[in-house]
């Protein structure tokens, strides 16, 4: 992990308010594993002050770039969306722990909701290269918020979409699609990233079906390296380590995750 000075190679809108930034980042590109993230300083002027943590969405090892995909929904992403080619930024990475691989030959199902799709694209493309069958389930509010086919295609042999308003794919939630998958020729491993409520529902479905599930969690984050202890996730009591110690009640998403076995997470609100 280093604080790499990276250059913006491209930064384009790929869906409604969704942007893909390609960053020349040879150090990080050579090391980032699916599920890991970077923490990018979008302004050196103090506004915004903190960095923006983004999952790695794709890498090109030979060319030495990484891609991050983000939705413009806050001050940091808004500033990032206006940064053009040739601009240099500090990019800390690769950070956190990535996805644990499925057993050999496992049928895998990747579930991405909204801004949770990016890590699934990198993971799916790696799984595909390793000859795992991959089904990708994608949920979004509407057609405009769905990523284009060409971005999803390298990550899965089967792509299924759901949208809240039915404007693209099946009307309803991505968890409806997962329920169908689990009822049929069920996957052996599920990987999930998306809004908290969606991940909670996915974790519950997988538990009912006894299918292992890993989730990539998100929480408001400052440092990304474990020093601020801000991005806390409450863990199940029996996952909290030393008996009688309250210290491990909360894990740090940035260094203990962001990927967790769904059974380790205390989901109740």
């Amino acid at each position: 992990m280093i604080d790499e000075q990276v250059e913006v190679l491209a930064n384009d809108e790929v869906a409604e308010e969704f942007y893909m930034a390609r960053l020349q980042a040879p150090y990080i590109a050579a090391r980032a594993k699916p599920g890991q993230f970077v923490n990018i300083q979008v302004s050196t002027g103090g506004a915004p002050l903190l960095r923006i943590p983004l999952s790695v969405c794709a890498i090109d090892l030979d060319a030495g770039w990484i891609e991050v995909l983000y939705e413009n929904l806050g001050p940091k992403s808004e500033v990032l969306s206006r940064i053009g080619r040739g601009v240099s930024m500090a990019c800390l990475g690769p950070l956190g722990n990535g996805f644990a691989p499925p057993p050999a030959g496992a049928r895998t199902c990747l579930v991405g909701g909204g801004i949770g799709v990016p890590p699934m694209l990198y993971w799916g493309s790696v799984l595909q290269r390793q000859n795992y069958p991959v089904t990708l389930l994608v949920g979004a509010r509407n057609k405009g918020k769905h990523l284009p086919d060409e971005l999803l295609a390298p990550a899965a042999s089967v792509v299924r979409r759901a949208s809240d308003d039915g404007s693209l794919g099946q009307a309803g939630l991505v968890t409806d699609l997962l329920q169908e998958e689990l009822a049929g020729d069920a996957p052996h491993a599920v990987y999930c990233c998306g809004p908290h409520g969606m991940m909670r529902a996915v974790a519950a479905l997988c538990r009912e079906s006894a299918v292992p599930c890993q989730v990539s969690l998100e929480e408001y984050m400052a440092c990304g390296i474990g020093i601020c202890v801000g991005c806390a996730v409450e863990l199940q009591p029996d996952e909290q380590g030393a008996a009688g110690s309250d210290y491990t009640r909360y894990g740090r998403i940035c260094v203990d995750g962001p990927v967790f076995d769904a059974r380790r997470v205390k989901w109740e609100d």
């Binding site: 929480e219 801000g230 909360y250």
Partner: protein, 303 residues
């Protein structure tokens, strides 16, 4: 080359820049990203006698020019610190100040006494000013009597230099500063964070799980600077300046206002090498301006 060395309440510092408590954890995470041997020192995240889980999320949010945090003193507890964390810290080529807190005067005293067993500790910073815990914390530093009681108890149980960390959430910080110095504090550090909050207007709920949090970052620097200047006139012990320091210029302002040393805090979250860059900037400033001894700048404010 200007001499940046500081004698801070008997602790020799190679330069006046330390990393602030709660912004460098117990050091390990920063090892690949900064060079501790270039710093004056680091101040550990607060240790309490018992392990603490901390506050429910959301724990942080950026606000204009700064951030709010409500971590809630999550820490592994005194025994884990002595048994595990210290082994790493003791190997660092820099001064290590251990920050302690408790929920009663006795807990502060007990913690200080136990830490006597670790000979490498440079000093204790006594956190009587955390705004994010229900009992203890802030309560101690908002009244001169309780602040003094804690410091006196720690002082009785420790031979190390004692630094009292003060809260800005009081009417008159100089009153508290005088009380802790009278009680035996060898130095004071200020400021801890300012109590603040942020609200989600759509849900009409507080953004932080703890409802309120502590404001830090560049936004608090002018407040901190004024408090350091006031305290410098009220007490004769060394002052550790804290509050929104991100650059050498920020650090120099505090030094001119009367701080003998400074702590870099929130800036570590933005740039994990911020402390070393502040050191380099102070060195460059002194060399450019023909300042031989940084110590000559301390409290040099002309009014």
């Amino acid at each position: 080359m200007a001499d940046l060395k500081v004698d801070f309440a008997g602790v020799p510092l190679q330069n006046p820049v330390l990393l602030a408590s709660g912004t460098c954890n117990y050091g390990q995470e920063l090892l690949p990203l900064t060079d501790f041997s270039r710093l004056g020192g680091l101040v550990t995240k607060t240790i309490t006698p018992e392990p603490r889980g901390g506050n429910p999320p959301q724990r942080i949010i950026e606000t204009a020019g700064g951030m709010l945090n409500a971590i809630g003193l999550q820490n592994p507890g005194l025994e884990d610190f002595v048994g595990e964390k210290w082994a790493f810290l003791a190997g660092l080529q820099t001064q290590v100040v251990v920050n302690i807190a408790g929920f009663s005067v006795d807990e502060f005293a007990l913690t200080a006494a136990r830490l006597e067993e670790l000979p490498g500790i440079a000093a204790l910073e006594v956190n009587i000013s955390c705004p994010n815990v229900e009992a203890g914390g802030d309560n101690f530093a908002t009244r001169p009597e309780t602040a003094a009681a804690v410091i006196a108890a720690v002082k009785r149980n420790s031979r190390r230099p004692i630094i009292a960390k003060l809260t800005p959430n009081v009417t008159d910080i100089t009153e508290i500063a005088r009380a802790v110095v009278d009680a035996g504090a060898d130095a004071v550090s200020l400021i801890n964070t300012l109590v603040g909050m942020a609200i989600d207007v759509n849900s009409q709920r507080p953004i932080l799980g703890n409802i309120t949090g502590g404001l830090s970052g560049p936004a608090v620097k002018p407040v901190a600077l004024a408090m350091v200047w006031k305290v410098a006139q009220a007490v004769s012990v060394p002052i550790m300046g804290i509050g929104g320091i991100a650059t050498a210029r920020d650090a120099l302002e505090f030094i001119i206002a009367g701080a003998s040393a400074v702590q870099v805090g929130t800036a570590n979250f933005v740039n994990p090498n911020a402390g070393v860059e502040v050191v380099d900037g102070i060195q460059a400033h002194c060399d450019e301006h023909g300042i031989d001894q940084l110590a000559s700048l301390v409290g040099s404010l002309q009014t």
